[in-house]
Amino acid sequence: MAEVFFFLAAIGALAGAIGTVTLRNPFYTVLALVVHLLSLAALFLLLRAEFLAAAQVIVYVGAVMVLYLFVVAYVGGADDPIRPAGSPGLRRVSGLFALVLFAELAIAVLGTGLTALGEEGAGFFAGYGTPKEIGRLLLTDFLLAFEAASLLLLVAAVGAVVLARRRSGLEDPRELSVADLFREKQVTGTQTDAERGTMLEAGGEPQR
């Protein structure tokens, strides 16, 4: 029975992956990735990673993919014609590279001396992969990784807000540089910083 579920999920995962790479419309690309991620969650369940499967569905399919869909809708990717990159020769080389990469990985996996890989997997205890066990490990053995991940999430959230905020009060958004974000803003009249303290300032408001 597990074989049937594995092949169903594997076909779903591969179809989703191929759809992600080949579909033209970014909207459908995101939906193909959703199929891929759901299939991967099924594979995680087969590997007794129950908490990871739930996190995959909730975090990836529920949150991250919805974020993608919002950005696709905002940017309007549907009417954006996607031309294939580079020349046809470059594309052929890219496909060849992917094939060679797969061959290398397959040789590494199948030709390994690790005999445990050819089996069903080692025995597991009751509660393997449940939220309780994962939570216990995160707060004992992997506390440093847990804290680092929380710090990384904070930095990424702040970075996303800084990058995507609306720059109001600026005549041309192109003129904003990263240095401006950290410089204290001095807004007096219509004079620019370069004109302050010069004879132009004594002459009154510049004509614009």
Partner: protein
């Protein structure tokens, strides 16, 4: 099912993602292809955790998920900033990095 099947599937997904990064030029789709590669590595990590019978690989996969979420947040913020500046959303056109 033996663990090798999962690892070969993971290698296939990773190769597809790597090929997609090379072929596509829309940064949104590039981010999605990077997600494919990260998920392939997640599958391999969980498979190895199953092969060993302990859960360390699952913790590793969970942290990879966190890193992927951070990458998505920053990447999508960049794409929105590019769109606001009326620049072409195309990685071949965006060659110059200027402050």
């Amino acid at each position: 099912m033996s663990i090798e099947w999962y690892l070969v599937l993971s290698a296939m997904i990773f190769s597809i993602g790597a090929g997609g990064v090379l072929v596509r030029r829309n940064p949104l789709v590039l981010l999605l292809c990077i997600e494919l590669m990260l998920n392939a590595s997640n599958l391999a990590l969980v498979s190895f955790a199953r092969a060993h019978g302990n859960q360390d690989g699952q913790i590793f996969a969970l942290i990879v998920m966190v890193v992927a979420a951070c990458e998505v947040a920053v990447g999508l913020g960049l794409i929105v900033a590019i769109f606001r500046r009326r620049l072409p959303i195309d990685v071949d056109e965006l060659r110059e990095l200027q402050g």
